[in-house]
């Protein structure tokens, strides 16, 4: 076959343009397979006409390219991506809800704690008020004691330690006008359990007559160790004995701790 003559006839151009019949097309396709120079010629013609026509192509938008892709459902990949993305948002939503719940829970706990603190602080405050009150009372007592003791009309009687407890001492503040008697028992040891100190007003002549003027109850609890005992109009001496709880009718002389003359 004279391929050159065939090529020069110009039929290959019409073949590329698509102007030939189906039969002619199939013939030429077969020839192109057989003769490489025919195939090469076809490809060159095609390149020339593609180049020419492409050059005259008006501008067309990128949006159109995207529209075509959408029409061809070539965006499947992206749609598939959307599904996990959507579920991701769902997770974020749930996570946000959980965080919110935890937040509310935490806030509620915080509120409870704060409320508890307020209650605690209130009770502490009440305790402090009570302490202040009791301190006030104590202070008043002490002031009263001091006032009593400092009263210039007082007769101060020092009681010295006796055989049972030579180191012991005590002081009696006796206001002869008011007859009030206070005992400073700071020099006495702590009484054994079940025992109590008993204070006696003594008449020495003609016979030693002891009269009980009171018990030093709550000895340990009394910080100042200053006790008010019963009023006394007449006494020549004072003595303190250790007696069984509740006191005795007459003093146990063997347990005489301190004694002093007025």
């Amino acid at each position: 076959m004279d391929t050159k003559q065939y090529i020069d006839s110009g039929i290959l151009e019409l073949y590329v343009y698509g102007l030939l019949s189906e039969t002619e097309n199939m013939e030429i396709a077969a020839l192109a397979k057989e003769y490489s120079e025919i195939n090469d010629e076809i490809i060159s013609i095609e390149k020339a006409i593609v180049a020419l026509s492409s050059t005259f192509s008006p501008f067309h938008s990128v949006a159109n390219y995207e529209k075509i892709k959408t029409k061809l459902e070539l965006k499947h990949g992206k749609i598939v991506e959307m599904t996990p993305a959507r579920s991701k948002y769902t997770y974020i939503g749930w996570a946000a809800a959980v965080v919110l719940l935890l937040g509310i829970g935490y806030q509620y706990q915080q509120l409870n704690e704060t409320n508890n603190q307020v209650v605690e602080i209130n009770s502490e405050k009440e305790n402090l008020i009570k302490t202040v009150d009791s301190l006030g009372i104590k202070n008043k007592t002490i002031e009263t004691s001091l006032a009593v003791i400092r009263d210039p009309k007082n007769t101060v009687v020092s009681l010295g330690g006796q055989t049972v407890s030579p180191a012991s001492f005590a002081k009696i503040y006796w206001n002869k006008e008011t007859k009030a008697v206070y005992v400073d028992a700071s020099g006495l040891p702590k009484p054994p359990k079940g025992m109590v100190y008993q204070v006696w007003a003594l008449k020495l002549a003609p016979v030693l007559t002891p009269t009980s003027i009171g018990l030093l109850t709550n000895f340990t609890a009394n910080d100042q160790k200053i006790f008010e005992v019963s009023d006394t109009g007449f006494a020549e001496a004072f003595g303190i004995t250790l007696e069984p709880e509740g006191g005795s009718v007459s003093p146990t002389m063997e347990q005489l701790y301190t004694l002093g003359k007025v």
Partner: protein, 176 residues
């Protein structure tokens, strides 16, 4: 990329295949569509339709029937003509013959390749008016040899060879 390489990708329905197909031929197809459908918006619609047809009917194409490019150019021409018919452009045939693909250059600022366009404009000056007419009728508008010979008032036997000479001029310029 050759036709064979492109077809392998297209048959595998690879998304890249479409991108290659579009890059290689969309301008050529769009130029053909625009010479037939003179409305830019309608031409874009036709282009969409053409690509959908190519993609959906790819199985009906066989290399034994001709070039792949030829197949898609025919789809572009036929779809454009269908569009014109549906719009009842009764006088379109006459109007079509009065202007040609070179008119697409009038709207030069809308050309996709301005730099190429400068070169091609010079080339168009060199290109014989006869060649512009014959390529326009045969390639762009899909006239048969018979129709072209009547339109150009040249003997039927010379249509093929005249067109061949014009393509040779073009190849010389493009070094193909």
């Amino acid at each position: 990329m050759t036709q064979e390489e492109l077809l392998v990708l297209i048959y595998s329905k690879d998304e890249k295949a479409f991108t290659h197909l579009y890059d290689m031929y969309s301008k050529s197809l769009f130029a053909v569509i625009n010479t037939l459908v003179k409305n830019r918006e309608e031409a874009e619609d036709v282009l969409q339709e053409v690509f959908v047809k190519i993609w959906k009917n790819i199985d009906s194409y066989h290399e034994s029937k001709g070039r792949f490019y030829t197949w898609i150019i025919n789809i572009a021409r036929n779809t454009s003509i269908d569009k014109l018919r549906s719009k009842n452009f009764n006088n379109s045939q006459k109007n079509l013959s009065s202007d040609n693909f070179v008119n697409l250059l009038d709207d030069s600022n809308k050309l996709s390749h301005k730099i190429d366009a400068i070169g091609i404009q010079e080339f168009v000056k060199k290109l014989k008016p006869k060649c512009i007419q014959i390529i326009d009728l045969l390639f762009f508008k899909g006239y048969t040899q018979q129709e072209a010979s009547e339109e150009l008032a040249i003997p039927l036997g010379t249509v093929k060879t005249q067109n061949r000479n014009c393509i040779n001029d073009l190849r010389l310029y493009l070094k193909l």
